[in-house]
């Protein structure tokens, strides 16, 4: 599988480098504009432009990730619908090895893009706005310490798990669509299938969360029924959704988090099942 990962990287790194280059130019321009504005004395003008720049930055990041996302999905789809599949699927590899390699490389690119956005902006900001690098870095580390509490970590873990599940469900939908419909023109049906699957899974997890309301306090890693969860200082949103199958409950300052353990396990099992299902279909059912 390692060798296949190597060729997946070789085949896609130029595109990702292209995205990184665009991000580099875009964030350099954005930060320089912020610096210019900060040098102006018109505070009212700055106040009006700041949300605009923040919005543009958000759009740039969103656009970059979306482009990478479609490229990665497109690359998987090409294996099933284009001539390159004749090479990939005659390699002495199992279906799981092929899907696994594609998944690992996809996640690697997302992590690299994410790290690039954060690190480049922090470094550029430090260079443009201050000469005191060490003090800036200390500030940033302090800020990260404040942000990274149990609540944000729990939300982050759930977010990452959801992203992993989404990508694998897309692989699964594309493969099922290819196995059941040979016509390339109808190949986009995978998207409909993905939406249906996603909806069904969300509903199932919500039901499971409601039927089995067992939450893990990630402060002490103890599992208890929702009735036994100390909800005194659980925040308003969590109070509202606590009986609606919420996957997570947070307290007011987000320093304590409770994750619905059955829903989490279900999500992990569905992800593993979809991965193995995709591997099985690729190995045993694909007709090129």
């Amino acid at each position: 599988m390692g060798k296949y990962i190597k060729y997946e990287i070789k085949g896609s790194y130029k595109f990702i480098l292209g995205i990184i280059t665009i991000l580099l130019v875009a964030f350099s321009l954005i930060q320089m504009n912020i610096y210019k504005l900060s040098q102006q004395s018109n505070a009212v003008q700055n106040l009006k432009v700041t949300p605009f720049i923040t919005g543009i930055s958000g759009l740039v990041v969103f656009g970059a990730f979306l482009t990478a996302f479609f490229y990665i999905i497109g690359s998987f789809r090409k294996e099933l619908y284009e001539n390159r599949g004749y090479l990939t699927f005659t390699l002495p590899l199992t279906g799981n090895q092929i899907v696994g390699a594609k998944f690992i490389v996809a996640m690697m690119w997302f992590i690299i893009l994410g790290l690039f956005v954060v690190v480049y902006n922090l470094l550029l900001g430090s260079i443009i706005f201050s000469n005191d690098w060490i003090a800036n870095m200390k500030d940033i580390i302090q800020l990260l310490r404040e942000i990274l509490n149990q609540g944000t970590i729990a939300l982050g873990v759930l977010g990452i798990l959801s992203s992993i599940m989404t990508l694998i469900l897309i692989y699964f939908s594309i493969t099922v669509s290819r196995v059941s419909i040979r016509n390339k023109k109808l190949g986009s049906l995978w998207f409909v299938l993905f939406l249906i699957l996603n909806g069904v899974i969300a509903y199932v997890i919500l039901k499971i969360n409601t039927i089995f309301p067992y939450y893990m306090d990630i402060n002490v890693f103890e599992i208890s029924h929702i009735d036994n969860v100390n909800l005194d200082n659980v925040n308003f949103v969590s109070q509202t959704v606590k009986n609606m199958g919420s996957p997570i409950l947070l307290n007011d300052n987000c320093c304590n988090a409770y994750i619905n353990i059955t829903g989490l396990i279900t999500k992990i099992l569905i992800t593993i099942g979809s991965f193995l299902g995709t591997g099985y279909l690729i190995e045993n059912k694909i007709d090129l």
Partner: protein
Amino acid sequence: MDYIIEIKELSKQYFNKKALNNISINIEKGKIIGILGPNGSGKTTLIKIITGILRQSKGEIKIDGKTPGVYTKSIVSYLPDRNFLYPWMNIKDAIAFYKDFYKDFDEKKAYELLDFMKLNSKSKISSLSKGMTEKLNLALVLSRKAKVYVLDEPIAGVDPVARDQILNAIIENYNKDSTMIITTHLVRDMESIFEDIIFLKEGEVFLARNAEELREERKMQIDDLYKEIFG
């Protein structure tokens, strides 16, 4: 007898169309077999099942005693009838790729074949002409010391010079311990290298015999026999 491929009552159906209908063939080790038939006779379908990229609807197939899968893919060297290499590669990448994935790949032989085919290892795959692509693909496939070679239309759509180079490469690099299965409808150009012939007609085995015996018995070349059967 020692069979490398055993096919028993094999059928492949696409909705209401039967691409292969109840085929039973045993292929001996160490032979060059020509699978002949017009378009739509089931040649490519049969080859795809052998190479493990198409599943039969019914019947059984064993390659070196195993059903098509990871093992059989490691012993079958397949030349599809299309450009299957990744477009981002150059020829050197393609050779490194084969070397990485196939233990039986002989890198030295690959470069010798490239010289023979007059191909530059720095050329991009996407920049190669149809004939050059076909020659490169064949060089990669023949550089493996595989138990089974499967060549699907190796000389279709290439100019006469490239055709001769490809035929010479096949003849000179054929390994006597291996089995080679070649499909073609350009029978005249290739018949001299076939030891056994399988004629496929409308998804069924119409005739399967030793090529020399057929020539003697029918008093005609295989190409003429092909025209008689399918004409």
